[in-house]
Amino acid sequence: MEHILEVKNLTKQFGDFTAVDNISFSVKEGEIVGLLGPNGAGKTTTIDMLLGLTTPTLGTINVFGLPFEEHRVKILKQMNFSAAYVNLPWRLKVWENLHIFGRLYEVEEYKQKIDTLITEFRLTALKDAITDTLSSGQLTSLYLCKAFINDPRLLLLDEPTAFLDPDVADLIRKYIKKKVKTDNMSVLFTSHNMAEVTEICDRVIFLNRGNIIAEDTPTGLAKRVKFCRVLLLFDVQRTKAVTLLKNYQYTFSFDEKEVQVDTEEENVGQLLGRLSLARLKYSQITIEKPTLEDFFLHAMRGRYEYT
């Protein structure tokens, strides 16, 4: 697959503060890459540099094989973006906003394209509505219509489903996946919804304090967490179970009925054996494998926190 986006040694410094520190990564054609990290990790600064809104201090950005600064117009005609912190003019009608961006991106047959998009994003009835009157979910749908208006080859989405109800968020994820499949579109995607990233992204780049600290598939990152979670439901003998877990120095938390134990996957058998030897009977057991969220927490805290 061809590299659509290639970032090499990208650095952004604001005075003494380094927001993005010498990062390199690429996005292939037809690939959805998640850019994850805590607040202040450098995700938005990276996206701003990829859009030409902020100038890099060091490093190169090549999009579609072309250096960004020298070919800005040609590149941006084939890119688009949507972000939770960017709006559209609120006193314009829905179709007027899309009409303007259709012309800005020099979309041929833009009227037809607008009709298709507002149908796909369930905004047909709101075509003549003033943007200010839309709900936050409808607004996000409108911003995504704008983001898809030029059928971008590379789409940058900064928390695109932040204000959407699960139904519309699902619609949008399906739409993105469909566009990737049918048009070979590439997507760089930031979100704080780990389940969404796991569902949609082929690969995840994990940023912290401006550095890439991990890069893998969502499952691959989750597997890096060696702990799994064992949930045990005790109808009686909970206190005895807690004492046992304390004695063996397990990491665990508990409430009135349930005990949650975090242990390495290979030690689950040993845990269950110890419970059995102590004649402790649980009415229900669930073993949860680590998720991307666990990786996120693990990477951020360097450890799990328990009560």
């Binding site: 809104l53 902020t54 941006l76 890119m79 960017v86 709006n87 007027e96 012309r103 800005l104």
Partner: protein, 263 residues
């Protein structure tokens, strides 16, 4: 340059014009009230004076001409600020739109609004005061208009550059700059009437030459054409400087991350 992208920005601002009361007032309302109040005041003074000189021609003419500075400056600046208020500026500059196309579109909107205001004031002055700017200044109107328009555009670009540098805390200057420049432009009084220190400022403003020649034409029925050419040269300098200033401030805003923080 893409005419599609220029047209897109022009349309964006023309769409909201009819449904935006404050913009309607800026184009038609406030200039008309200015004409009305000044016209009535001057008519009263004229009726109380024994002079046969038509004050109303000089004052009303100056008021209409001054709007040729105000409208493009305000449109160039307010339409830029409007993108910041709407948090839309990043959408625009993350699109293929270039700085040149954006500034060109702002100028075209400024010219459209300027003509709308000039036309409404011309009709108003004819109806209210029997004053016709075309018959009073005839062939001088194009050179007056071009000089005043260019100066208004330059002021607008400078204001936009200041906003890029200092953020929306500078937005008041978008309304204030013409008020600051007006006293030094000798709109309603001759250059010789203002203090010497103020004259030093006035002589570097192209507007001063336009209004001086406007009055010369009224009093002496002729103009010193070299003054108007000099005003044009000054305007060229101001325009080149203002475009350079905006461009530098834009690039600095990208470098320091201010562009993304403006919203």
């Amino acid at each position: 340059m893409s005419t599609h992208r220029i047209a897109a920005i022009i349309l964006r601002h023309l769409y909201i014009w009819p449904r935006s009361p404050e913009r309607f007032m800026w184009t038609f309302g406030w200039p008309f009230f200015g004409l009305l109040i000044w016209g009535l005041a001057i008519s009263f003074l004229q009726s109380s004076s024994s002079s046969t000189f038509s004050f109303i021609t000089v004052i009303i003419g100056a008021i209409i001409f001054w709007e040729i500075v105000v409208q493009p400056q305000r449109e160039v600046s307010i339409n830029f600020i409007d993108e910041l208020w709407n948090k839309n500026i990043l959408n625009l500059f993350a699109s293929p739109l270039t700085k040149t196309e954006y500034l060109t579109a702002l100028v075209v909107i400024g010219i459209i609004k300027m003509f709308a205001t000039a036309l409404s004031l011309t009709i108003g002055s004819m109806v209210l005061y029997n004053f016709n700017i075309f018959s009073s200044f005839g062939p001088l109107i194009p050179i007056f208009f071009i000089n005043l328009l260019l100066f208004g555009i330059s002021l607008g670009f400078i204001v936009n550059g200041l906003i890029l540098r200092y953020g929306l805390s500078m937005q008041e200057i978008a309304w204030a700059i013409v008020v600051i420049v007006q006293p030094f432009s000798c709109v309603l009084y001759p250059l010789s009437f203002i203090p010497p220190w103020a004259q030093k400022i006035a002589i570097v403003l192209p507007t001063t030459y336009v209004f001086e020649e406007m009055r010369r034409f009224m009093f002496e029925s002729n103009v010193i054409s070299t003054n108007l050419v000099f005003a044009l040269l000054l305007n060229t300098v101001y325009l080149v400087f203002s475009i350079w200033f905006f461009s530098i401030m834009f690039e600095k805003a990208r470098e320091y991350g201010r562009l993304v923080k403006l919203t």
